[in-house]
Symmetry: C2
């Protein structure tokens, strides 16, 4: 399916609105059992699939193809199994589950608990290890590159220095882009939006696959070392989630690394918990902020939360912190090459005085307001650039690499070229070492004579971490000129926007912090003596305002900054600036991760129901007729239905003679049906075989959810013609307690129910007696604004 | 109803098990519309009410009275409106709501948002102000008392010193107890369990009333100043919640302080949000820990959470932090009497070295294990003491005061008597001031000659805050003898246990921190040179282990300790010790707040369903017959039903001629019926009057939830005999979209639905057609283990 209809996307990209996500994903095998559906506006039934992402990890839903012919298309729908899959957090309470639960002994429960915590430990260890390795590699590669450039500069071989610098960047960038483009396109970008969507119940294909993990780690190292204005923090979150997924699946079956006794975790609920831990561990490893990691998972990543999970997440991040600390202790002895000075070290601001007066507060508020405006502008521009890039990335892997290389050249030119504009400054007298010798440090010599430094080069010709440290440094109020800060701010703001979207793993935290810090320091320097606050503190507040303006996180950013800078006394100011900038930015647009989720066409369920949903009832958005199964169904009918539709859940209706009147027995899942059919135990007559037969034939975990793309597939079945005429009793695998709503239930309330309980299917039952016992099934897509407003355009003005 | 049957409680107290809470509260007006119900075990229908608390804010459910006569008792049930009320977070989507929503203009939505944030601001300001006032008063009163004692000691008038010390304590304790016993019994104790229960959906009567707020503030000042081993932190949380409730209700109608345009907030959902903010603000004010406050609200207090609330809570705690800071700045000039040195100041540990080796880690783990054991023992003993005290407090207000006075004398004797056991120590030479002159400080002279200090007196004859600061102080490894620390630890551990439960507002944080810190320092001193860690750090870790062991909070305790001590570098150790102690303690019993919630008979809904619920279906725990209303019902029937039952919700069933067959129209609330009946617009015939009539007669907010005990009551209605025979159309006030489950739905899933959506009533509908359209209503009490295990004793072994 890959690559088909790739062109359609361009038609859509021109549209003024964000892609109609839910509509696009409507028939992605969501299993409402609906064979026919009115098209949006038009009368035809549409079907869609989402093209697998070839461009920088983004998935763009294809335009809905309209046909007036509703039935001829049905055969194709079954084939179009979409790469987006909804997750199901409901416990499938069928006979098998109950049997399993009854037979589960205390030993098994103990085993489960021990495994759960062991996995948390392993996720912490793994993420900590990867975080350390990532930093070690970046510091060494980037350090080597910068030392080489520096040495050539010292010999006044400026042209060769540029060629060495740009060449290294180019090679690293091309390598990272090639990895991304050819091995795992899903690894491009930040990964936080995808993790967020996963935790909301949308599994984008291969987003947590082992190959994605591999590319994410090495692509990120390449990208950061190549001097791009991007961070390793977002990718670390994605990496943590991938590690959690890998461990939770018991390793990769594809690479023959399995751990079969992890069967307890073969369901969406336990996997979700693990991935939440992984995301938290990622932030903890990226920023060495264990509490910040927990809060990030809580505030930004997770859609559901419970107290027990808080504790487990906290444990995971604690393990990350301890792991990192152990490695850093080891490296302190100098065994890690160029690592040790830069990377993973806190930005220590503790010497800053933090007494402030009313004028300072006003300055901080103004800083927050402007930061909020810049932040929302950043989101707006990132969105525009992403949409443009996706057209280029669309065209294939070589174009992705070409784009990356172009941006790399642009970045190199800026980094190397702009410092020539700055004038040389005499070193302050009270310093031991100026210009700094070696890789990191505040004062870069660049083209200046000895005893002088180039302040713009001190920012540009450094790793991003070191540049931030320079900007945050306190007691260095006169180190940077206003013009320097202005040039740096403008360049970084611009480069950050054009960099996100290229085919390398790229986090948004560092570009935003970098731009924010230079903006804050610029404001602080302009205010000069009017404001008593330290310029380093201004840089920190500027970074906070940009983070609040783009990511719209408050508590977690606050704690992360706290843990980064190790100074609690500035907490009130950071809180103030975050609140102001978030409020300002929220009046313009949404957070950058939400924007990207929407743009990628991931059907994200918001926590609240939209107001217009109160004017609709659940019955308004379902449409019939349904595909339902009898409790004892003919094999042929099941196979036919599975083949014709991509639905994942089918209502089971008991009819006479098995009940007095037709009544809803429950809901059966496609995956369970496939396993049952694969067992090939059919009966000639339409009789109840009961659960005992199934218990004999299947183990408790045969029906557990397989890893993505691993379960029994329709084409795996080999059922002959005779068997097609036989019957199978699907009662034992039917979920007897599906959640139901009455068709007259307000759609808003149904949406709240759906979202709060993390459902995949919600059965709609009739209000009045004497009708078939089920009206339809609501799925995630039915609650998407695009779908509803397509059916009821009159509510558009309520948006 | 107050005081009736007060004796019954004693019979019950002797029972080995915790009170059968839910059973006790079964008919507390929960509105399942059930007129008759099989008793637990017995065949009779029981009815119950809960006696209003007269003893230290605890409410003990009365024993269920069994009668074989089911009907003669029904008349009384209506009168027994219980002081516990469930909250309803469901949006009542009736015609009125929809009409109101349609007519709501953008201006009103804007108004709502502005008000919401204004309220958050006011809650923050109010809580900050109270927090400051509390500290100011305590520091001045306790300071005066200690100075007086100290001066008498210096003159060697030891007997008079004791009399002055114990006398001051006694007067303060008696005053606080009298306030509690006579004005607001609900103000006694910590208040955190009640706030936690409120946020779970259980409103214990008058727990957030203005009188409770008043007593909580002044009682807490008295209690802390009286030298009890109790804290002001728990009461501050309760105070914050009370302030939030007061502001959210638009002031107190009783005291004619109303703010009528707060009508938007007259519902349980908005009130819950405000009270969450208030609880967070309380912690923030108590510990000056804004981030800790947010996390406390999240981890311990709140049962539901959403991202938007996180932000608002964060704003509130930021306001608290700024308010406190402003006051402290003001006090720095010495205008606040004895305030300034003690109270509200962080325990600054930043000079502590935090490098550690493997043996140190082992020491820390052992510390955590023993701390966890001590913590769970603490919970166990507190529970036993509380149960004993409740018998005494039962007997009436004078007994409450007597108990408080006894404990006060005991505390005074310990504090003044035990230091005589300690030997005098020569002051270290390098100190400016030893023994400390004035109120606070490390070194107390007590009976020692000049140039010497009594280390036990330095801990006992200080405020609790100063004692903690002394224990946490770093670089003072030899200040305290092992014997001193042992005596202090034993005394504080014991006093802390016997103090919680007396009739004064008493927090658990400080006693636990105090005992934990002395324990930690004791262990550190015993280990001596074997462990390189500072003794102050050991004290901190000991405090963390005790907090983890009693309260079972992890992330929030961690952050609170961080914010208290302002040292991020010890974070991994604190995390480790918390994780260890919580794990150890969890294997013995539950957290102290959960214990108290259970003991008070508050029907708390856990987030997870108990395993045995999977073997039951929703229909198993409801019992009929129901009281249902027709869509157009005879007034007399409604009045009769309201009088006969205490139920709060009644199903409305449409019957021919208004529908083809009987069908469930929705659910109508008692409070709405009362307002409608008070309007006295009835019709002679059974006709639909439609919503227009109701809109004409009532404003949008006439049906909004009134403050506790403020709404229309049954006795307020004056309906004459003729009107009783008339009809009223209750369709416009019927919630058309109640959540429903099918009777065969697994009880576990119904419980999850109930809990996750914060419902008060859950309608159970029949599975098979041809039966009445509703089987029963599930309420909070139906999900309580006591109720279910009473009906199905065979599941008891699954517990």
């Amino acid at each position: 399916m890959e690559g088909r209809e790739g062109k359609d996307i361009e038609n859509n990209e021109g549209g003024a609105m964000a892609m109609p996500v839910a509509v696009g994903g409507e028939e992605e095998g969501e299993g409402r059992g609906v064979m026919e559906r009115n098209g949006v506006g038009g009368g035809g039934s549409g079907f869609f699939y989402e093209e697998e992402d070839k461009e920088m990890g983004m998935r763009e839903p294809l335009l809905r193809r309209r046909t007036m012919n509703t039935t001829s298309q049905l055969a194709i729908v079954g084939a179009n199994v979409s790469p987006i899959e909804s997750l199901d957090y409901e416990i499938v309470e069928n006979d098998l589950y109950k049997q399993d639960w009854r037979s589960r002994r205390k030993v098994q429960i103990f085993q489960y608990v021990v495994l759960k915590w062991t996995l948390a430990l392993l996720i912490g260890l793994g993420t900590g290890l990867v975080g350390f390795f990532n930093n070690l590699a970046v510091e060494n590669i980037a350090g080597f590159k910068l030392l080489l450039t520096n040495n050539l500069m010292l010999k006044e071989r400026y042209r060769e220095a540029f060629l060495a610098y740009a060449g290294c960047n180019l090679v690293l960038a091309a390598a990272a882009a090639a990895l991304c483009a050819y091995v795992a396109p899903a690894a491009a970008g930040s990964g936080i939006p995808e993790v967020k969507a996963y935790l909301n119940g949308v599994d984008a294909h291969s987003i947590l696959a082992p190959s994605t993990l591999f590319v994410k780690i090495f692509g990120s190292i390449g990208g950061v070392a190549a001097g791009f204005v991007l961070g390793k923090e977002g990718p670390m979150v994605h990496t943590g989630a991938c590690i959690a997924n890998l461990l939770g699946q018991g390793g990769s079956r594809k690479y023959h690394l399995t751990w079969t006794w992890l069967r307890y975790f073969k369901n969406d609920r336990d996997r979700r918990d693990l991935i939440t831990c992984g995301a938290a561990a990622g932030v903890a490893a990226a920023f060495r902020a264990p509490v910040g990691g927990v809060l990030f998972a809580l505030e930004e990543a997770a859609s559901w939360w419970r107290s027990a999970l808080l504790w487990r997440t906290f444990f995971t991040t604690a393990v990350v912190a301890v792991t990192l600390r152990a490695f850093i202790e080891y490296c302190r002895s100098g065994k890690c090459g160029l690592f040790g000075e830069g990377g993973l070290i806190m930005f220590d601001l503790s010497s800053t005085a933090t007494s402030y007066r009313t004028p300072d507060l006003i300055a901080v508020i103004v800083l927050g307001v402007i930061g909020g405006i810049f932040g929302s502008l950043y989101n707006f521009l990132v969105d525009k650039v992403l949409r443009t890039y996706s057209i280029i990335n669309e065209k294939g892997a070589p174009f992705k690499i070409l784009l990356t290389v172009t941006i790399s050249l642009l970045t190199s030119c800026c980094s190397y070229g702009l410092p020539w504009l700055a004038k040389c400054t005499r070193c302050p007298l009270d310093l031991d070492q100026c210009p700094t010798i070696g890789r990191s440090g505040n004062f870069k010599n660049f083209q200046c004579p000895p005893g002088h430094y180039n302040d713009l080069a001190s920012l540009f010709l450094n790793t991003n971490d070191d540049a931030i440290r320079n900007l945050f440094s306190s007691g260095t109020d006169n180190e940077f000129y206003i013009s320097t800060l202005f040039v740096f701010f403008a360049a970084i703001y611009f480069l950050g926007i054009v960099t996100y979207g290229i085919a390398v793993p790229s986090g948004l935290f560092i570009p935003v912090i970098l731009a924010g810090a230079s903006y804050g320091r610029l404001v602080g320097t302009i205010l000069g003596p009017m404001c008593a606050l330290d310029k380093g503190l201004f840089a920190l507040l500027g970074a906070a305002s940009f983070l609040g303006g783009t990511m719209r996180m408050t508590v977690s950013v606050c704690v992360i900054l706290l843990e980064l800078t190790n100074d609690l006394l500035m907490l009130p100011l950071v809180m103030l600036v975050l609140l102001v900038s978030k409020t300002v930015a929220d009046s313009f647009n949404r957070g950058v991760y939400d924007q990207i989720v929407t743009m990628k066409g991931l059907p994200y369920m918001e926590a609240h129901a939209e107001p217009y949903m109160r004017n609709l009832v659940a019955g308004d958005v379902v449409s019939g007729p349904l595909i339902t199964f009898s409790g004892v169904e003919k094999v042929g009918n099941i196979v036919h239905a599975l083949r014709l539709t991509g639905h994942n859940g089918f209502p089971v209706v008991d009819e006479p003679p098995f009940s007095d009147a037709p009544e809803l027995c429950g809901l059966v899942l496609r995956s369970h049906l496939l396993v049952l059919l694969k067992g090939r135990r059919f009966t000639k007559d339409r009789v109840l075989t009961g659960p005992a037969e199934v218990f004999r034939r299947f183990g408790a975990f045969d029906f557990a959810k397989a890893g993505s793309g691993k379960g029994v597939k329709l084409q795996d079945l080999d059922i002959n013609g005779e068997e097609m005429e036989m019957y199978v009793d699907i009662h034992p695998i039917t979920n007897r307690s599906p959640y139901t709503v009455v068709e007259t239930m307000s759609l808003a309330k149904a949406a709240v129910l759906f979202r709060e309980l993390g459902l995949r299917h919600l059965c709609v039952v009739p209000k009045t007696p004497g009708r078939p016992p089920i009206v339809g099934i609501l799925t995630r897509h039915d609650f998407m604004p695009e779908h509803i407003l397509g059916l009821f355009p009159q509510f558009k003005h309520h948006m």
